[in-house]
């Protein structure tokens, strides 16, 4: 008698759990559908020629190319300013591109989790060419290779800054290049 009752209770509760699981599964699927495109940051791997063409484009756009890495603490400190610049000025002709110098074997383990944690939506590229000496000078002859470093340019002006920027400095430099 006792056993039977237990069994019935068990059955009822199992049914409830199943129903709840179905509901949660549905909600989970919805959550997956709606959150992946927002949070799933894409990292485009690029090589030397792609990088160099990125630093030498013509047109009306002002390019802001920030060289950074997850291991670089001053880069991590300033990356939010670049994200804000991207959100605020992408529609008015400013194209922010974050070029990661993390090792290519750390995209999944470090770069993507970092971008998701920081909610970065600006385009991110990762430089796969580790023969630094072959391209650092071609990005800018004054660059020692240290990061953070930021190139801001358009058809008329160009500035290369090998240092950490404050929000004010970044916006000011972009304004100087645009005007």
């Amino acid at each position: 008698m006792f056993a039977e009752k237990t069994g019935r209770i068990k059955q009822i509760s199992t049914g409830g759990v199943l129903q709840a699981m179905r509901r949660y599964a549905f909600m989970f699927m919805l959550a997956v559908i709606f959150t992946v495109p927002a949070a799933g940051q894409k990292v485009t791997e690029i090589g030397r020629e792609e990088l160099l063409s990125l630093t030498d484009r013509s047109g009306d756009t002002t390019y802001v190319i920030n060289f950074w890495a997850t291991w670089c603490s001053p880069c991590v400190k300033e990356i939010g300013y670049f994200e804000d610049l991207h959100n605020e000025q992408a529609s008015s002709g400013v194209r922010v591109i974050l070029v990661s110098l993390d090792f290519p074997n750390q995209i999944e383990s470090r770069v993507i989790p970092f971008l998701e944690e920081k909610n970065i939506t600006a385009p991110v590229m990762l430089m796969t060419d580790l023969r630094y000496n072959e391209w650092i000078d071609r990005v800018d002859p004054g660059w020692s290779g240290a990061i953070p470093a930021t190139l801001i340019y358009n058809n008329d002006h160009r500035v290369f800054l090998e240092k950490e920027l404050t929000r004010e400095e970044l916006y000011e430099q972009v304004n100087l290049i645009r005007n």
Binding site: F103, L130, Y132, N133, I136
Partner: protein, 199 residues
Amino acid sequence: MKKTILTFSLLSATIVMLGAGLEPGDNAVDFTLKNVDGTTVSLSDYSDQKGVIVVFTCNPCPFAKAYEQRIIQLHHKYSPEGYPVVAINPNDDQVSPEDTFDKMKARSAERDFPFPYLKDETQEVYQAYGATRTPHIYLLENMNGKFKVAYVGAIDDNAMDASAVTVRYLEDAIGALMAGNAPDPATTKAVGCTIKTRD
């Protein structure tokens, strides 16, 4: 006379502006720094060597870590040839807490560094050399008791993977010196961690 002085001061101002450190051909700057074993080490202690591989490096930088084993191997390979490694940590440990003297000692013991690991406490040495990142190499050549800079830059062309290296800049430079030639290239650039300072 006045004109000469003016020209001279303009010239020295230009030198100061350009002189963000040492380049190949320059005289090396002597230093005396505290070593992890409690002694002090000076560049002049090496006057009986053919040269010195000065490496500005640190504890936490991923590039410094990636090169750590290679730096140990370089010392084992080239110290018997008269080119030992001297490692200098230039980071301000208030900004980079992983670079305190105690943590340097621990790192050196843990990895069994066969070379001195010196603390550039006042950060004057790295500034005099013009190092900008870790690791940053200055290969010095002993020219009749005076050290001259022979090569500045990277160790090789693949920080991530030692087995994928195609050009060994530093070893090529040492090889050139041993053959009586000037290193070519005499400078290379590389990505690395910035040297940590309080501004």
